[in-house]
Amino acid sequence: MSRTPDQIKRAAKSKKRIKTILHNGLLAVLSFFWLIPIFWLIASAFNTDRGVNIRQFFPMNWTLDNFYQLFFQTDSVANFPRWFLNTLTVAVFACIISSLFVLMVSYTMSRLRFNMRKPLMNIGVILGLFPGVLSMIAIYFILKSLGLTDSLLALIIVYSASSGLGYLVAKGFFDTIPKSLDEAARIDGATQWDVFWRIIIPLSRPIIVYTVLLAFLAPWVDFVFANIIMTSRDTNKFTVAIGLYNMLDRNLVNNYFSLFTAGAVVVSIPISVLFIFMQKFYVEGVTGGSVKG
């Protein structure tokens, strides 16, 4: 039985519609599963019940008290405003130092030629193969012998001291800036210092934004290193991450779970927005860095 062109077109159209529904339906179902923990996080943040809600997914009674308590009713366990300030201080300083370090190392490795260049890069690769937590213990003792543990200064040092190792992404970016630019400047009598500050840095805004944001975010999400450094368990010295982490301690979780979720919502929103904003750089960083080794 032969079909008219009109019928064929209509069949194709309905086939396309079915496929569209199937595709989007499947994605909707997947998204639902993927978002369950996020829903639970937000729902628990508005729960009047302070412990882990195990009776039903959504709270019986909704309230804003958790957020109010988080900001205005601090106690010996939860001092969110203080943690926020601590983390902000650490993040700002660590971010400035490590961004500078990263840009300095990546520019050197990308643009300057000197004897030790290759050996230094190889050492960098080898150092990356050791588990970070291994050196952390020794770092703790070194900081302790300097009398620096339990201080924000120690955290700033830990987050920024070795940041030069993370130079590969920025180096990849610098490699793409045409060499003829600096050569022209050199002919006009510019020193390497001038080339760095007047030519390369102004041209590298995207990678600077990426480096700065990544360095700024690290103290907000790290709970391992901060936990090792802050041994006195004085909650006034906590960062947001270890403060929230601490709230889920076995002895505290029944009183602080909803407060934890409220705090988690408060820090997660800006972090997620920043991440979505810089996902493009992030992808370039991961793929570019790994391919070049």
Partner: protein, 468 residues
């Protein structure tokens, strides 16, 4: 170097003893003063730190901490004890200082010889100001690298070397400075970890168990996520999908939330008394008195008298759950990474295959996957290495679980531990630094092997014409 020394004048020869003498001779006064300070500093460092620590380096100290009550002062007085930890650390720093100093010294002979030559030939000798200007230009790499590299030396290299040395000592809870001494034991810790002899049975056993699970985990975590992520990316970028940006953002949100938030939540979600088990203990729709848990029990997936599903507490369940929960993070992550590469697959490859009558699955298996594997193989191996050390997922989800396997428990390990979380627990909770260091070295070797593979592949894969 020796040629410079032989042909040099008296000042070059004397510079072997006095670092700065040549500079004074050639009127580089400021440089001379700086190098004098370096030499004096080195000598003082050796007297007060280097020699006292290095002289005890072979024993790591012999005088045990003692606290004796002194009747005259009526106080407990502490003897002048040896602190093994400080001896090990400062000794290591001394060795590094000596190496750097000897390097400066030898290099200096060459510099002095050059200065002598400049003077003899009537060449210009840089003033201090000119030297400084060079740091902004020809020697700019020194200006830029000094601070970052010293940061890395003090906070990565020295700690790592220190921990490597610890692997050859008996530094653990029974040998904790300052009250106790520890000393060198050679390769004994490696033996304990690698053999299953009679007295070392638990560590040898635990190491094999943990290593097997680490490799299994890394394999599944990498490849499941890889395939799932690519399928998700294909789905989102398909021409039938509306609002691809919206779907993408939804999935990206799940990785944008900090892991200590999302994973800790998931841990409580799947706890033994958690919300998931509450939901499962409700009735299956249309079947009265028959709950989901009953059904799971009848399938034989949980014990006959269990009232809940031990998602994160049973050895088998928890391993499966870890891999599944990791998919929750991994799919969006791989989707994010691979979307760009997928868009670059030449469209004509698909078109010609479709003309030849290939179906959707064949297109995926014969074109998409080989192409993706070809382009992203280095990333895949890097990701595998990353998963070998995937601390967050394992630690946040299962750090509180207790193992019922006594042999593992003796070695302070648990069924779901990776090498990295085991190492972390050994140091943070049990102060077993010697074994943690050995495990750290093993992890380095493991990562090194797979990274070398990645490097090898990148070099080999230079035949790019396969898909062009």
């Amino acid at each position: 170097m020796s040629h410079d020394f032989k042909t040099g004048d008296i000042y070059v020869k004397l510079s072997l003893l006095f670092l700065s003498i040549g500079f004074f001779r050639r009127h580089q006064i400021i440089k001379g003063i700086l190098f004098s300070i370096i030499q004096i500093g080195f000598i003082l460092f050796m007297i007060f730190t280097g020699i006292p620590n290095l002289s005890r380096y072979n024993t790591l100290g012999t005088i045990q901490f003692e606290s004796v009550y002194n009747p005259i002062t009526r106080r407990n007085e502490v003897n002048n004890y040896d602190h093994s930890f400080k001896i090990l650390l400062y000794g290591l720093i001394s060795i590094i200082v000596i190496i750097v100093y000897v390097y400066i010294h030898l290099k200096n002979i060459h510099t002095q010889r050059k200065l002598q030559w400049c003077e003899a030939e009537g060449q210009h000798i840089n003033t201090f100001k000119e030297d400084l200007i060079q740091l902004k230009d020809d020697r700019f790499h020194i200006t830029l690298l000094t601070l970052p590299v010293s940061g890395i030396v003090f906070f990565t290299i020295i700690p790592l070397l220190f921990m490597i040395l610890v692997a050859f000592t008996n530094y653990d809870q029974l040998h904790m400075p300052p009250t106790k001494l520890f000393s060198w034991v050679g390769f004994r810790n490696f033996e304990i970890l690698l053999t299953t002899g009679s007295n070392t049975v638990t560590f040898g056993y635990a190491f094999r168990k943990v290593l097997t699970w680490t490799l299994t985990w890394a394999f599944f975590a990498t490849f499941l996520n890889y395939i799932g992520g690519i399928i998700l990316a294909l789905l989102i970028n398909s021409k039938y999908t509306k609002w691809p940006k919206l779907w993408r953002t939804i999935f990206v949100i799940t990785i944008a939330v900090p892991q200590f938030v999302s994973l800790l939540l998931v841990r409580h979600f799947f706890a033994d008394q958690g919300i998931m088990n509450t939901l499962l203990s409700s009735n299956i729709p249309f079947l009265s008195d028959y709950t989901w848990i009953d059904w799971i029990r009848q399938l034989g997936l949980i014990g006959a008298n269990r009232e809940f599903v031990p998602f994160l507490t049973d050895p088998v369940w928890s391993k499966v759950m870890l891999i599944l929960i990791n998919c929750w993070i991994g799919f969006p992550y791989v989707m994010l990474i691979t979307t760009g590469v997928l868009m670059n697959i030449p469209k004509d490859l698909y078109e010609s295959a479709e003309i030849d009558g290939a179906n959707k699955f064949q297109l995926f298996a014969k074109i998409t996957m080989p192409y993706m594997l070809f382009v992203t193989a280095p990333y895949l191996i890097t990701n595998f290495v990353h998963n070998l050390n995937n601390f967050n997922v394992i630690y946040l989800l299962t750090s509180t679980r207790v193992t019922s396997n006594q042999l593992l428990a003796n070695a302070n390990a648990s069924d779901t531990d990776l090498l990295v979380t085991w190492l972390f627990k050994l140091t943070q909770d049990y102060y077993n630094y010697k074994m943690a260091s050995v495990i750290g070295i093993m992890m380095f070797l493991l990562s090194a092997i797979f990274t070398l593979l990645a490097f090898n592949y990148t070099i080999k894969s230079n035949k790019e014409d396969r898909f062009q």
